[in-house]
Amino acid sequence: MGVAERNNVITRGRSGAQPMVFAHGFGCDQSMWRLVAPAFEATHLTVTYDHVGFGDSDLSAYDPVRYGSLQGYADDLIEVCESLDAGPVVFVGHSVAAMIGVRAAIARPELFDRLVLVGPSPRYIDEDGYVGGFSAADIDGLLESLDRNYLGWSSAMAPVIMGNPDRPELGEELTNSFCRTDPRIASQFARVTFLSDSRADLAKLRVPALVLQCSDDAIAPLAVGRYTHEHLAGSELVVLEATGHCPNLSAPEATTAAIASYLAP
């Protein structure tokens, strides 16, 4: 099993151009980039992939030990970049994938040209004066929500092939894979994500980064985006006027424009 099959790596855009690797966060799969990645196909080789355990990745490759910390996901990202064999990449990571990218870029800086961190948070739980926005009890509540909604997902989402008359560009296959995850894997990734602490990593990053922050984000509040920016030497901070944690879906044009502007020579 190669990396391409394991992580359902899909490349589009200009072959021979600089690769732009998009990684999804906790919750769904690479479909999160559907409204953003195509905008870069004219200038880049766009690469989207699923973390193991999500989307159309190879579920049999899920190893609870390897994926027991963000490092396992960072190692996968490094392997994805190596498999491209096309020079340093632009990495775009949403949510927890932002910190996955930071870890990978610390370990292998030569593989990364620049990082775009969308809604990053180095630490979700409040601690010793640091405000991440959540308590340990909230994480228990999340695990309970996942548990309570597992059956609903499988029956309500799985067999229904719904067209999207309003958004035909999204296609029909989304409802079959999107956000559907083995509950065991979803639960472990939730723990790995929301109990992680990447604050100490920030100072180690030597690759330039853009922090793309939503003005009104219930998961990664503005203060967390500022914290990340302040602790990443040489980073830029752009605040999008957008509500929610997923500007790649709720404000795709603004997200695209901010990334394009950052990458512009």
Binding site: G27, I139, L142, M162, N164, A218, L249
Partner: protein, 393 residues
């Protein structure tokens, strides 16, 4: 005019267009309208009553996600919002809504995204159903499942202990001899079936008795009958009445034990000093003798019908277990195949038993016979094997 033929407004006078507002406000479910970013712009009376909020407190300053607890908030942002954006609808979300007094209101939530039109901009319609009773019911189901699982675990432990006890107590060696046994029940979930093996001293303390038997049927009923028959055999035989009398007493014994009727038994007692063997078979496959040179011989004498209702005198026979010789007792599951006649099956066992590598120990023989003879197993049956070896000199 029947009801079906009358115009709807005549069936329920007063249900005019002006009551549509009331249909919304006092619907049997909570009904919210929000902007695509979640800001609540309308809420019906039912919802406000359920959560204990005024319209002023809710409409305008509050987003739907703000009504959820911390865990539900993350779930909303990471699952619900993306699904809404990509497929325009989510259904039957099981979420707790936090009431004004801080308590949780268990709800089933469905949301649909309405695209903007000339009249009204894009918005979300959210219905909220009271799921508190369903939650209590589900909690009861979870408790019942936990109780059932604990009880099943207990039953399994009891069954395992009982089953082991039914086959326990056999001796494995003594002055001048060794015994090896193998057992493979038909069902993976049980540790034993209707087959048994046993080895014990007669009361003279120098004669070793061995028995292998097979109770009709499989599973737990056969295992229970087996346990009784095996214990009865041991109790009867220990006094030294000899093989024929042992089987005759068992005929009497199973009169009151229907599950054990038609059981087959191979029984032998060996004088460990001289190698003299007395044996009898009640409907059972013949014991196999293998001498020190590897010559295999079946003991075809001392045969009579299976243990059963009609008492009659039973025969027994004698043989000799020479020094370094072995005797193998077994049940039909070891050798019988649907596609092969019994003579071929017996030949196969004799060949396997006689053609071991030089110096093969008794444990290795037991392992090899099980492996070789079960390799072509075509249906799953209880399998039992007992081998006794008389030491050299």
């Amino acid at each position: 005019m029947t009801e079906a033929e009358r115009p709807p407004q005549e069936l329920l006078p007063g249900l005019g267009p002006e009551s549509v507002e009331d249909l919304y406000d006092r619907a049997p479910c909570g009904y919210l309208v929000s902007l695509p970013n979640g800001t609540i712009v309308r809420a019906n009376r039912t919802f406000l009553d359920w959560v204990g909020l005024d319209a002023d407190a809710l409409v305008g300053p509050t987003r739907f996600v703000d009504l959820l607890g911390g865990g539900g908030r993350i779930f909303h942002e990471t699952h619900v919002a993306p699904l809404l954006a990509l497929q325009g609808t989510v259904r039957e979300l099981d979420l707790d809504i936090v009431r004004a007094d801080g308590t949780a209101f268990p709800a089933l939530v469905s949301i649909v995204r309405m695209e903007g039109t000339d009249e009204v901009a894009a918005h979300h319609r959210i219905t909220v159903f009271d799921a508190s009773q369903r939650h209590q019911y589900e909690a009861e189901l979870r408790r019942a499942r936990a109780t059932a699982e604990a009880s099943e675990e207990q039953v399994r432990a009891v069954a395992t202990t009982l089953q082991r006890s039914l086959l326990s107590g056999g001796i494995t060696s003594g002055a001048g001899f060794h015994i090896e046994t193998r057992y493979r029940p038909a069902y993976d979930t049980l540790e034993i079936g209707g087959d048994w093996h046993d080895a014990f001293f007669l009361k003279d303390r120098t004669t070793v008795a061995v028995s292998v038997g097979d109770v009709v049927g499989r599973g737990i009923a056969a295992a229970c009958a087996m346990g009784q028959l095996r214990a009865a055999l041991r109790a009867i035989a220990t006094s030294g009445v000899g093989p024929a009398r042992v089987l005759e007493h068992l005929d009497d014994f199973v009169e009151r034990l229907p599950d054990a009727q038609m059981a087959t038994i191979a029984y032998a007692q060996i004088d460990t000093a001289t190698g003299a063997v007395r044996y009898a078979c009640a409907g059972h496959l013949p014991p196999l003798l293998v001498d020190a040179e590897g010559v295999a011989t079946y003991l075809w004498e001392g045969r009579s019908r299976p243990i059963g209702l009609v008492p009659e005198a039973r025969p027994e026979a004698t043989a000799t277990l020479v020094a370094s010789g072995r005797m193998v007792l077994y049940t039909d599951g070891l050798i019988e195949r649907r596609v092969r006649n019994i003579d071929d099956s017996l030949d196969r066992l004799a060949r396997s038993a006689a053609t071991g590598p030089a110096g093969e120990g008794l444990p290795a023989l037991g392992d090899r016979l099980m492996a070789e003879l079960l390799a072509d197993e075509d249906h799953r049956d209880d399998v039992c094997l007992l081998a006794i070896e008389r030491e050299a000199g």
